[in-house]
Symmetry: C2
Subunit: 490 residues, 2 copies
């Protein structure tokens, strides 16, 4: 160890008018000097008296700073040798060379493989664009904020200190009971409150399901085309995606079996396929359940917006048809209420509840309590069903206006698909490149989501997804007119 | 296909006084009969007129039910042959044999490998026990609920419809700015608001970090002993845990390098080691940073409770010492405010922000907006720092009472560790089996967390973790006396 003459005092600059305390300034100056190598291990430190005199401050802050530096191991103090920079710091080699910027370049900043594959900047922004254009098609102006806020205020006033602690990892009992009752009646889901796991939305529901059910390398059927955000869940979990075509009856089960009979799971949106809007027929549903049972596979049913159905009565869930507990049913309040709430649910086969719970605990322990209390009351007091009824009328009107405008502006060139439910429909256009048109439209200030973006493999359809949830009846004709301009139709 | 005489009418039992509509009852009866096989593909269905007469209800609900069954593909209708059960349903083989219970046993209900390893029922309950006993040592009765609720009500009244939409996936700007300012001043963290990712707590912070940085099979240094919930994050991510001993200076970096120099990451709690309470010395900090830089590894710094320090000033963060952006700094509001809030943060090296963001999007899209707004104001208006100051005094008092009681009741047999900070301390006891004592205490109605539970390998210390955050000064002597009884000290 190099011996350094003890007479050299480090420069400790303090500013008496600074907001930082003198004690802190002295501490920071020493720590900084040690870390950047200007003070070396073993180097003697002036006594507090000398240091205080030198800086021109009282001795107390210097004493306190020295004590802290001793406590944290930057200084050491030995009988007979005064205070020195800790000799133990010499065990490390020079930590921070002056060329740290070039060193940074030299050292690989390796991230996980799954992460390097799926998160290019472009991909991220593309997904965000689709999400913001289509995902949040909610008519926020019709949300009963006054009622909601009354519940917020009521719960806020009556909040007990107990409710500040961790909540039940499976979710608030009152909310799970309210959801179970709703699902049994409105969606023909077979469930008890004990099977309901409260999550932050369908995305987290999918994520937890993938963790519980799938290993890296497992194959998963996904509808082709599908929701890009769902695909990313499986990609990050190292699963191999098997795109299975969707036709007028929904997912083509036979095609799936031909491509990969032994897939471990299938993700489907049977009530209202995203993005094509197809409702899966009974025959396909039974085929799919049959495949899952024979193959020991799992079905993830993402039922994201089927509360809003405009033709016929709401379609019963696939889960309700399943006699073998092979279906994990995932729902969300993002579409039917609002996304910023971050609440959704998973209906778990009874024998898997503990496994889901263990994964949820490892992932984020439990959901926040307060929004769950407010939502439970919102459902129990009937505001939820009233809101659904009211919104169905609002969306139905917007939907009709959109269909009418499409017919008027685009004529028979545009085939409308999947307008029976939800807050979006698709138009299929033959002989165009939807991405090119979207790029042109973007230059004209119109944002379009090309259907082909949502294919995993080669797109077999070209067109656009048109959300109508957040566009008023008055705004719709103009929006469709802009689309027509982008399409450059004569 | 077996031809079934069309004259047999299925039994459709309706109850006119039931809450379920007649239309729904007819629909359910048919669907049920088709699904359970009592109606076969091709089987003729009576006309709506006949069916209505047979059941003794008006024709409209029957018509509606038939329409729905047609729409969903359970029925088909061909000119000249009336309505029949869809022949396409025959494509499937018998889906639901009567012996579905035994079939269930026959079909393996395979879950993911990582899930089967780490989520035994016992393990889950053990982790929950540790969490509830130690994790939530917060003096809830001192939380300024009135102030918090005033902010809740204010935001609730002024909520704009815009805020109902998805929020920024990285978190609310106002909150990130408030946190960055706090961390720079109070924790010597080098950061800008753009590097702060809002998460639901340190658990999610760890989870996202593991996803971004680690692949299955990667080795991770963990402190031995450590927080069990943190271990589960790496276990579920398929990582291999390398337990590295903790001594009086914190994590023993040299020991870690001997065991596995090439670990991809290290998880540390340098400010207040969990559970031993050690503060990592400067020398060890620099060694650790040096190792990470030389090896291209990552350091996850979990700083869960260092706001509450009773001796010396708060210790500066490891992140603040790092010149090579190798440290991911994770903090939470669960201890300093309350766990039910579900808010925490990750300070991300600038070049990794987009990768973290992509994983967060895939995991749960974005954090809930409302609690972020309330918390941002709570910090900006000074309530946060006032609360910390007040709580430090409350906890300091409880801590002194606990130390005093331990000295009085247990005498020199119990070595107290890590009482400098936080809301828990550890007592080390020689020549005992902490699990046996905990089991005995449980029979006497006293809940104890044995230190040995928190070891990954063979425990080298026996003792207990005593939280003092949620036990009042008045209750402490009695609690320690009970511990003495459990220890059976003369």
């Amino acid at each position: 160890m190099k011996k350094i003459p003890s007479t050299i005092s480090p420069i400790v600059a303090v500013n008496k008018r600074a907001r930082k305390s003198l004690y802190r300034q002295v501490y920071d100056a020493y720590r900084g000097a040690i870390v950047d190598g200007s003070l070396c291990p073993g180097q003697r430190i002036p006594s507090t008296r000398v240091q205080a005199l030198e800086i021109g401050i009282s001795r107390t802050p210097v004493l306190n700073a020295y004590e802290q530096l001793l406590a944290e191991g930057y200084f050491e103090s030995r009988v007979g040798s005064g205070t020195v920079v800790s000799r133990s710091l010499a065990e490390r080699v020079t930590v921070f060379p002056a060329t740290s910027a070039s060193a940074k370049r030299a050292r690989p900043r390796r991230v996980s493989k799954r992460c390097s594959i799926s998160s290019t900047r472009e991909d991220l922004h593309r997904r965000l664009h689709v999400e913001s254009s289509v995902g949040s098609q909610v008519a926020f102006e019709h949300f009963p904020l006054r009622i909601w806020n009354r519940l917020v205020t009521r719960h806020s006033r009556n909040l007990q200190a107990d409710f500040l602690d961790y909540g039940d990892p499976i979710g608030l009992k009152e909310l799970r009971e309210a959801i179970a009752a709703y699902l049994r009646t409105a969606r023909s889901v077979h469930c008890e409150a004990e099977q309901i796991l409260i999550v932050s939305g369908s995305q987290q529901g999918l994520e937890i399901s993938a963790r519980v059910l799938l290993d890296p390398g497992d194959r998963v059927w996904m509808e082709e085309p599908c929701y890009a955000f769902a695909r990313s869940v499986f990609a990050y979990n190292g699963c191999r995606i098997v795109p299975v075509p969707v036709d007028a009856e929904g997912l083509n089960v036979i095609a799936g079996m031909k491509k990969c009979r032994n897939a471990r799971a299938a993700l489907v949106t049977p009530s209202h396929q995203f993005p094509l809007g197809t409702t899966m027929t009974a025959s396909r549903r039974l085929q799919l359940l049959d495949w899952a049972e024979r193959n020991g596979s799992w079905i993830l049913e993402d039922d994201y917006d089927s509360e809003f159905r405009y033709e016929g009565m709401p379609v019963a869930s696939l889960q309700g048809l399943d006699r073998n507990s092979r279906v994990i049913y995932i729902g969300t309040f993002s579409k039917v209420l609002f996304p910023a709430l971050r609440l959704g649910y998973v209906v778990i086969p009874a024998d898997l509840v503990e496994r889901f719970l263990a994964v949820r605990l490892a992932m984020d322990i439990c959901p926040a309590s307060f929004p769950q209390m407010v939502l439970a009351d919102f459902i129990r007091e009937g505001h939820f069903s009233r809101h659904i009824r009211r919104m169905r009328a609002v969306y139905a009107e917007r939907r009709s206006a959109l269909i009418e405008s499409i017919h008027k502006e685009l004529g028979p060139a545009a085939e409308i698909q999947g307008a029976e439910a939800g807050m979006h429909l698709s138009i299929i256009l033959k002989g165009i490149s939807d991405r090119e048109i979207a790029a042109r439209a973007a230059r004209q200030g119109t944002s379009l989501v090309p259907l082909s973006l949502l294919y995993t493999g080669k797109p077999t359809r070209q067109g656009f997804i048109l959300g109508f949830g957040s566009t008023t009846v008055k705004e719709i004709p103009d929006a469709v007119h802009k689309l027509r301009i982008a399409l450059d139709l004569k």
